[in-house]
């Protein structure tokens, strides 16, 4: 009986075994003898495919679930209208004023500090950090943010990275108001990009471009340099790589976990009663998202700073990433999903399908060899 020679001999070590999460379409082990009809019975595979058509775990991660409308009544509707008037007429102008004031203070302090203190690096950095924390607090105030922090505050030490689950760009602002992190982000166009290239640059932030494949090595090198520098701000990474709707976590990219340093997980969970903070980047621009937050009642969330983790002996970076994802998901009450967040932008690689085919083929051979 000829053996199956693996045509793609390099196994895809880049991701953990998806078979652990998905139901396998392999042959029933109840039949000791493999008959032709078992091989021809494609119903498990078809059922899987139909199941995926009807509902699949990946699309669920990016669905923004609108809250149930409660204003369907004669007396509830006027109450809701009153609420709209208060939100748009009273709260929004107040918040806009607060935010504008904050920006004025920030800009008037930042530029002098940045240009005049060019020589005194340490002092300048400290002041810049304080100012960034200030403007982030103004932002949070402009949405009436009620943020509860649990756990010890992050400290500035070399050889450590912070990882967090990602729901929206405001995650960064909420974390930044407590500690001035340096973050690694996708370069955005528009006014966000302008902010990124001027102010956030001074914090030591790193940019990447999702669509460039060569980018990965450059970014990996920059990450390593940053982490090893003693004086740099603590690095914050969102290993999911994309915004998820705060009910699920998608697979973490291993880049943050193979830098050879301690990983401190942070879990963020938003309370949806007041507003759904998920930024569905396919549906709204960031400006619309911010405006939506500014015209809601409040942004309520919990932030947990969890125990720092190290790579255990004999653990691969992928297993490490999965372990940390487990910790974060359990703490924030999120369900885990075995898909790569970047599948939002591209098709799954054919290797995944080939692996399924290989496992089916192997079970066929195993059954035949049992004769």
């Amino acid at each position: 009986m000829s053996k199956l020679n693996k045509s793609n001999s390099e196994l895809d070590l880049d991701r953990p075994n998806i078979e652990d999460y998905l139901p396998s379409g392999s042959l029933q082990d109840s039949h000791p003898k493999l008959r032709l009809r078992d091989l021809l019975d494609i119903s498990p595979t078809l059922t899987e495919a139909a199941g995926a058509i009807v509902d699949d775990s990946f699309t669920r991660c990016f669905k923004s679930n609108p809250p149930e409308p409660w204003n369907w009544n004669v007396y509830l509707f006027p109450l809701w209208c009153l609420g709209v008037v208060v939100r748009y007429g009273v709260l929004f102008p107040l918040r806009a004023i607060v935010l504008t004031t904050g920006w004025i203070i920030f800009l008037s302090c930042y530029f002098p500090v940045h240009f005049l203190l060019k020589g005194h690096d340490k002092l300048r950095k400290r002041l810049e950090r304080g100012l960034v924390e200030l403007i982030c607090s103004f932002f949070v105030a402009s949405w009436t943010g009620v943020v509860k922090y649990h756990g010890p505050r992050p400290s500035m030490r070399p050889k450590q990275v912070f990882v967090a689950n990602h729901t929206s760009m405001i995650d960064f602002i909420i974390l930044e108001q407590m500690t001035a992190f340096a973050v690694i982000m996708q370069k955005h166009p528009g006014w966000v990009g302008l902010l990124q290239s001027t102010i956030l640059e001074s914090l030591g932030c790193i940019w990447f471009n999702r669509s460039e494949s060569k980018d990965r090595e450059i970014v990996a090198r920059k990450l390593r340099e940053h982490v090893n520098g003693a004086d740099n701000n603590p690095l914050l990474i969102f290993p999911e790589g994309t915004c998820v709707n705060n009910h699920y976590t998608v697979m973490f990219k291993k880049g943050a976990f193979e830098l050879g340093c301690t990983v401190c997980p942070i879990a963020i969970k938003y309370n949806k009663i007041f507003v759904d903070a998920f930024w569905n980047s396919r549906k709204q621009s960031f400006t619309t998202h911010l405006l939506q937050l500014m015209t809601s009642w409040a942004v309520v969330c919990d932030v947990w700073y969890l125990e720092p983790q190290n790579l255990k002996p004999g653990e691969t970076p992928i297993e490490f990433a999965e372990r940390v994802r487990d910790i974060i998901s359990v703490r924030a009450g999120l369900k885990k999903v075995p898909w790569d967040g970047y599948l939002k932008y591209s098709r799954p690689s054919p290797k995944l399908r080939e692996r399924k085919q290989q496992s089916f083929a192997e079970s066929v051979l195993r059954h035949l060899e049992q004769k």
Binding site: S2, L39, L40, D41, I42, L46, T59, W339, R353, L368
Partner: protein, 157 residues
């Protein structure tokens, strides 16, 4: 995610239900409609290949190309009729007919040996030599060169 422009009326639901021979309840049809609208992002009334492939679980399935060929260009009514074989209320006859249709790529009502080989190739990525060897080892019974639907029924049931 709301379907503001095209809500299903009671008449629509009943029409779809009749078309799929009552294998889905009305509530299930409404859920399927929501799913159809979610997949059909550009709102053109049918789900294109691109839109199907955005579901990673479907894209990694070895039989996805075949199923896609059968699903291409279907509107919602036909979509529900297609999925009716998977409902718990579908009869065994309906399920076997569906499997037969998946096998019978040229649609001539017969499943030839080549069509069976094609399916096995899709599932396992075996080379042709491997496939012949596997089938030979298992061939204690005579495999007829082409099967009509009743024979397939006997074979799988």
């Amino acid at each position: 995610m709301g379907n503001t422009s095209s809500m299903l009326t009671q008449y629509d639901i009943e029409e779809v239900q009749e078309h799929c021979s009552n294998t889905f309840s009305q509530q299930e049809i409404v859920s399927l409609y929501q799913r159809f609208c979610q997949l059909d992002r550009n709102g053109c009334g049918f789900i294109s290949a691109e839109e199907f492939m955005t579901v990673p679980e479907f894209a990694v399935n070895p039989l996805s190309q075949r199923l896609f060929r059968m699903l291409d260009g279907l509107n919602f009514k036909e979509f529900v009729a297609f999925l009716s074989a998977f409902s718990s209320r579908a009869s065994l006859q309906q399920k076997v007919e569906f499997i037969f249709k998946v096998y019978d790529t040229d649609g001539n009502g017969k499943v030839t040996f080549n069509e069976m080989l094609d399916i096995l190739r899709d599932l396992t990525e075996f080379s042709d030599l491997h496939l012949f060897l596997v089938i030979e080892v298992m061939q204690k019974e005579n495999t007829p060169m082409s099967l009509k639907i009743e024979n397939l029924h006997k074979r799988i049931a």
